[in-house]
């Protein structure tokens, strides 16, 4: 009885997107979040999960398997049944960049992409008392002094700065930090000249605690159009980061369609939009599974070129 109710409910909502005979899901769906519980990424996943529950008419059990930037969850999910009852949440670079480092066993072809739900914005931040105000000024400072101290968080931002250093012929002294907090501390305290940061640097800049000299995501920062993107500065590189839902390889087509349309609906909810725009300070974007896969293939090619260039 419950089964038929579910079916009717799901069918009513999904009439346009899914075949009417689809009976997925008939039991709770496991969502494996590739990040630690409580953070911004996990929060987005949990909000989406609640919205998806309404769309699917089934409970979604959120489980955190954090570690290695989503790779732990990816390894787990790809070993599960591709019946759609176990899906994962990670970010685009989990698939487009991490496999290139040679430290994981999977490739983007080993999973089925369900959807991209929202984008991340990343920037290059400098101390408020830095002797420069913009990107060109930073380059001048680096040339004058002979080097620049840069706080790095992940391998991708490091690769991008190494690329910039090689292009501009400046010495980039890379200071590794553990997580965003370490890099933030280094840049606010003026211990480095430049640091990679997530969108949480935006309110800090608005308070005048630091300067932002460039955006790394290709879309730029909408509310601060004067911040250039690395792409716009003519480097042709960017860090395209977005939240990605995925499942095991060869996932059941009906389940995939249902999940994709449930997510399409979930990202339209006011609660989620408010979170992405005002709290998380990312940006709204929605890509279907196949669009996500295409995007990731393109990103991976760009990153491979980038790595080839810096190791030349």
């Amino acid at each position: 009885m419950k089964h038929s109710q579910t079916l009717a409910f799901a069918a009513a909502i999904m009439a346009s997107a899914a075949p009417a005979w689809a009976d997925f899901p008939e039991k709770p769906v496991n969502l494996v979040v590739g990040f630690r519980a409580g953070g911004g990424s996990d929060t987005a996943a949990r909000i989406l999960a609640t919205e998806m529950e309404a769309a699917l008419g089934q409970k979604i059990i959120v489980e955190n398997r954090g570690g290695a930037g989503g790779a732990v969850a990816t390894e787990y999910v790809r070993a599960q049944d591709p019946d759609g009852y176990t899906i994962g949440f990670a970010v685009a670079t989990t698939f487009s960049f991490t496999p290139l480092t040679g430290s994981v066993a999977y490739t983007p072809e080993d999973v089925t992409f369900i959807a991209t739900t929202h984008g991340y914005r990343t920037v290059m931040a400098a101390p408020a008392d830095a002797p420069f105000d913009d990107w060109a000024g930073m380059l001048d400072t680096a040339r004058e002094r002979g080097w620049i101290n840069y706080a790095s968080i992940i391998p991708l931002d490091r690769a991008i700065m190494q690329y910039v250093g090689k292009k501009e012929d400046i010495a980039v002294n890379i200071v590794p930090t553990r997580g965003g907090a370490g890099a933030r501390q280094a840049v606010l305290g003026g211990h480095v000249d430049l640091a990679f940061s997530g969108s949480n640097a935006l309110p800090m800049m608005e308070d005048g605690a630091l300067k932002i000299v460039a955006a790394l995501n290709p879309e730029g920062i909408e509310e601060h159009p004067d911040i250039p993107t690395l792409d716009g500065l003519g480097y042709g590189v960017s860090a395209a980061e977005a939240a990605v839902f995925f499942g095991p390889d060869d996932m059941d087509a009906d389940a995939l369609a249902m999940l994709e349309s449930a997510l399409a609906k979930a990202v339209q909810s006011d609660r989620f939009k408010d979170f992405v725009n005002n709290k998380f300070r990312g940006f709204e974007t929605f890509k279907t599974g196949s669009e996500t896969a295409e995007g990731i293939t393109l990103d991976a090619e760009a990153y491979r070129d980038l790595l080839d260039f810096i190791s030349e």
Partner: protein, 496 residues
């Protein structure tokens, strides 16, 4: 000023009050369950606050944080099963006192010291946050390295009976902490191809494995070895199992020292609770009039660690609110939650989000009071745990550890890690290798390595810049002297 009082009064609504109470209760219960800990309590509570009003949500999370801090002491004191590395410091005196027939006294000491330490650091936060934050920022990698090195030297005096074995334990801990992706080259170290190890060994699984599980195994063994009457762990309420407030006042020096150390460490992002707890313990041992009693169930020892680690949690909010830099895992979780509820960290937060920030302060004070009240009411109930026969409590505690690690640390892999370290911990216990030193090495080792490597990189192009860090140079220079002093004291003490 008016707006501040208005905001604080605003916070005194019934909803806020109820959510703080709920938060404190959740925190105490989850913190006290063996195998779970305060960060876990926060992670669980965050989704619950999604639909709440911002002030109520923040109040609840602050309640969970503070309740969890005290809850962690309960498991550590009564069952010797600490859920976090810093609680290992509380077990040093807390458990012997509880086993000596005074579980309530031990818990009371922990509760009062914890609330006192917390209140002191909250006061500092409310009065001095922006100034302190700017000051703390001046500590860069070079200063942090110096602070860590001298702290490690001070803590070395806790190495148990054999100095050689103590240092070995710390070295082993630090060695195991290097497992995972190297922050500099991004290439894995000692991961044997396991993706799960890329972020290092799951700390909670290691801590519970090495600290709590061997204790449970030992208690289960007692059943096999002794006559039943000998297994009755505690004989409660023999003598006066209470801590009169007047007696607590005699601990005030210890508590204030702990609160001071905790506040200072908490304001410096990136050092953390474990360092504060052990540093305070070491300092208390150094300045105590009866240092030989520490480690055998002295209230002084409990007061030292609990006041320090609670003080960290308040002071941690200084860098968190003004700079967005979380000082430890609990604070890192709070940043995310604060963001969701519209508290955006930044130097202008006191002007920008005035009502929320002062509401938060009001909630913190409220939470301190609630921890004191709920904790006092609960003491009687908690102390009953030691009366439960060991054959009932220890099997359940073992299962709880397994379940807790499974859900909080990601599956069977973490449980495997926990069991492996349980074996190690059991051997260390039997061979008298200090587990406390192992934990200190595990927690501080990677911090020292990273800050030294960062310093080397920062100074590599301009070595003369080291003279821009006079504070660090003084500390580095003092370290060998401090070490010598401690070894001398140690020899004198052991000579009689």
């Amino acid at each position: 000023m008016d707006i501040i009082f208005a905001a604080m009064l605003d916070a005194l609504s019934l909803t806020t009050f109820l959510s703080v109470v709920l938060g404190v209760m959740i925190g105490i219960v989850i913190g006290a369950v063996p195998g779970l800990n305060a960060p876990m309590a926060i992670a669980v509570a965050i989704p619950l606050t999604f639909t709440m009003a911002p002030l109520a949500a923040i109040g609840m999370l602050v309640g969970v944080m503070k309740g969890g801090g005290f809850g962690g002491a309960i498991g550590a004191i009564l069952l010797n099963t600490p859920g976090e590395p810093h609680s290992a410091a509380t077990t040093l005196d807390g458990h012997p006192l509880a086993r000596g027939g005074k579980p309530r006294k031990a818990l009371q000491t922990a509760l009062y010291s914890s609330v006192a330490g917390d209140s002191c650091s909250d006061l500092v936060l409310i009065l001095l946050a922006p100034t302190l934050a700017v000051f703390a920022l001046r500590a860069g990698p070079v200063e942090l390295a110096a602070i860590l090195v001298i702290s490690l030297t001070l803590i070395a005096s806790l190495s148990g009976r054999s100095l050689t074995k103590g240092i070995f334990a710390a070295a082993l801990g630090a060695f195991l902490a290097t497992v995972g992706v190297d922050p500099e080259t991004a290439s894995p170290r000692f991961t044997f191809g396991q993706v799960e190890l890329f972020d290092g060994l799951p700390l909670a699984a290691v801590a519970i494995g090495v600290l709590a599980v061997p204790e449970i195994i030992l208690r289960l063994q007692e059943g096999r070895r002794h006559r039943p009457e000998a297994t009755s762990v505690v004989t409660p309420s023999e003598g006066d199992d209470r801590l009169p407030f007047r007696e607590f006042l005699t601990l005030r020096r210890t508590v204030f020292r702990g609160a001071g150390i905790g506040t200072a460490i908490g304001a410096l992002p990136g050092l953390g609770t474990t360092l504060a707890a052990f540093l305070s313990y070491a300092a208390t041992k150094r300045f105590s009039t009866a240092p030989e009693k520490l480690g055998t169930g002295a209230t002084e020892g409990i007061a030292a660690t609990e006041s320090a680690n609670s003080a960290v949690s308040g002071a941690n909010l200084i860098p968190l609110l003004t700079l967005g830099i979380p000082g430890n895992l609990t604070a890192a979780l709070l940043v995310g939650a604060f963001l969701i509820h519209g508290v955006t960290p930044g130097p202008l937060i006191f002007q920008r989000d005035t009502s929320l920030v002062y509401g938060l302060f009001a909630a913190m004070i409220m939470a301190n009071v609630m921890v004191l009240i709920i904790g006092s009411l609960g003491l009687r109930v908690f102390a009953l745990i030691v009366k439960v026969p060991p054959f009932v409590i220890y099997p359940i505690v073992l299962l709880l550890c397994v379940v807790g690690i499974y859900v909080s640390q990601g599956g069977f892999f973490a449980v495997g890690v926990m069991l492996t370290f349980a074996v190690l911990g059991f051997f260390m216990l039997k061979l008298e290798i200090s587990i406390v030193c192992f934990i200190i090495g595990l927690v501080l080792g990677p911090m020292i390595e990273l800050s030294i490597r960062q310093s080397v990189i920062l100074l590599s192009r301009n070595p003369a810049a080291i003279f821009d860090h006079p504070f660090a140079l003084v500390l580095f220079a003092a370290s060998p002297f401090v070490a010598w002093l401690l070894i001398r004291d140690r020899n004198r003490l052991s000579d009689g």
